[in-house]
Chain length 189, copies 2
Amino acid sequence: MSALKGASAPIYFGSFIVTPQAIHQVFFTTPLSFALVNLKPILPGHVLISPRRVVPRVTDLTPAETSDLFLTVRRVGRMVERVYGASSLNIAVQDGVHAGQSVPHVHAHIIPRKPADLDHRGGTDAVYDLLDGDEGDIGKAFKDAGATEDGRRNKFPAVDNEARSPRGEEEMRAETEMLAREMEKEPLD
Amino acid sequence: MSALKGASAPIYFGSFIVTPQAIHQVFFTTPLSFALVNLKPILPGHVLISPRRVVPRVTDLTPAETSDLFLTVRRVGRMVERVYGASSLNIAVQDGVHAGQSVPHVHAHIIPRKPADLDHRGGTDAVYDLLDGDEGDIGKAFKDAGATEDGRRNKFPAVDNEARSPRGEEEMRAETEMLAREMEKEPLD
């Protein structure tokens, strides 16, 4: 397992290349899984864990991939909870299109939570509205940011209808590098 | 791994004993995990997967417990999707009280989804409002059903303020037995 290093083959998130050298979102890799920051986090520290192999459903994973994915969820979850000063985590997989999945590649959301962190948005449970609303639409966020299917950026990103626009590349790069360093502090177990 | 059989030590869900002989909710066990039906399912086939060891947070699990829990989620998820004629699954862990956890014992919700299944409740995303609202409050549902901490039932179950009351014991027993039989048809991998 390594942070950033060791990602020799390209890493895909759905049809988007998210290899560290292409888009600075991947902050941790294992032989079977990777962790990436969000273009449009619902709350600070909202990250995604995916298998390296591009398959849409959890049942498509091998047992080894399933174990590795959720051991990575556990380890990365512990890290973001510490780094963002949180006290709980929402862990959610929209497993299939009728469960709200927007990119046909298994991904577990990890969202650090604090007391009263969403009171201004409707309370603790508002996280799920946000997850499933436009703000949680990862496919749309990728397209809005102008990501193309070979990982380059379009010159003219699609216009985002929302006031809230995707984060800048520099901000994401800085967060990716910070989280990669923080993962190196985590115990293996 | 066995369905119902092989659960010699009592199985706890939080402080409630849910051993098959006490409350007919547990339809599948592994050496480290168990699966139980819900008193108040949000949608048909809504079940829970928990570790046998009563710990509140995912980070409290050993790596072996983490792997076993999510391999059980994958296998039980495949079964309920088949049995309830669904096409997707919501998989969610409220990991800690500030993420909406009501019983301090790790549990993954598995909710089978179909096209338009929640249109009358507000659309695909309404599952999360239901999960985090009173209907998803597992601790309250246990208490409403009159479960006591040693797994017996009170003579006078607490009054449920909602029109929607917990399911009857016979209905849950029948579902538990049906799901136990269905698990026996699932391949190990």
